[in-house]
């Protein structure tokens, strides 16, 4: 049988990859994708703990995380489209000024 800690290690690695993506990549779309990676790593932890403890609460929270991720993707992509109209760029460094 697979130990719980293996699931947690996989989840930690995926979460760290998402964090590295947010820090290292200079593309707004890839940064949003990295945030999705981090949300999914957390989902894996929730489901693994739900399986181990025999409680459904973890799976319920995963459903809510999915709903929040959908809302976040919709609003985030709308902001990206709005920014791209102004600057014709997806580099977050291009949006350094607060007002233009």
């Amino acid at each position: 049988m697979i130990p719980l800690s293996h699931y947690l290690i996989v989840s930690a690695l995926i979460f760290a990859i998402g964090t590295a993506g947010v820090f290292l990549r200079r593309n707004l779309i890839t940064i949003l994708l990295s945030i999705e990676i981090m949300l999914n790593a957390v989902n894996l932890t929730f489901v693994a703990f739900a399986r181990q403890s025999g409680s459904l609460d973890g799976q319920i929270i995963v459903l809510f995380v999915m709903a929040v991720a959908a809302a976040e993707a919709a609003v985030g992509l709308a902001i990206v489209i709005g920014l791209y109209r102004h600057r014709e760029s997806l580099n977050p460094d291009a949006f350094a000024s607060l007002k233009w």
Partner: protein, 187 residues
């Protein structure tokens, strides 16, 4: 044991695809790799006796959210945009602040590994203590969702409504100064 083998194949696939999302320049391929990663995670959810979550993962994440991303990538024609950017900001030639960010991510790995090693009671098998039927029942999941968590469920519906209105407002094309003065701006 095939079960263990499947777990390691799926986890390797999930980690490798996630690494490829941030490891290559074209956002189009990043989205594809993320779909592969979500598929592997859905397989792991099935192994964890959470079939409903696995199906929702495929339908909502890989089906809906990633198609939204793909649509925006195509709309903004981001593939060419990022190719030039990638040459300028290759990970090996990045400014110090980005290297600092990579260091922070590495530190996060070390810290999580350290915490996992120190935490007790995590070494036991994940499926050993509870019967699979307890957590794999979709019926029970729906019952809990609409009784114990009904307030959070309704709040989520309001959140999605607000996000929908916000996305429409944000992505709306702004009128030029002449047309806005003609029509009168503001409510």
């Amino acid at each position: 044991m095939p079960e263990t083998l499947i777990f390691y194949v799926l986890s390797g696939l999930a980690i490798g695809a996630s690494a490829l999302v941030i490891g290559q320049p074209n956002p189009m391929y990043s989205v594809m790799m993320l779909i592969a990663s979500f598929g592997a995670l859905a397989g792991m959810y099935i192994q964890l006796d959470a079939p409903f979550i696995a199906v929702a993962q495929i339908i909502i994440y890989a089906g809906a959210i990633m198609v939204l991303f793909l649509f925006v990538v195509m709309l903004l024609n981001a593939a060419q945009e990022d190719a030039a950017e990638w040459d300028r900001s290759h990970p090996l030639r990045q400014p110090a602040i980005a290297r600092f960010g990579g260091l922070l991510a590495l530190l996060l790995v070390v810290q999580l590994a350290w915490a996992l090693l120190r935490a007790g009671g995590l070494g036991g098998p994940v499926a050993g203590q509870v019967d699979a039927g307890v957590v794999s029942s979709v019926r029970e999941l729906g019952r809990v969702l609409f009784t114990d968590y009904v307030f959070a469920f309704e709040a989520t519906s309001i959140l999605i409504l607000v996000a929908m209105v916000g996305a429409v407002v944000l992505a709306r094309r702004e009128e030029g100064p002449t047309s806005s003065s003609k029509e009168g701006s503001g409510p």
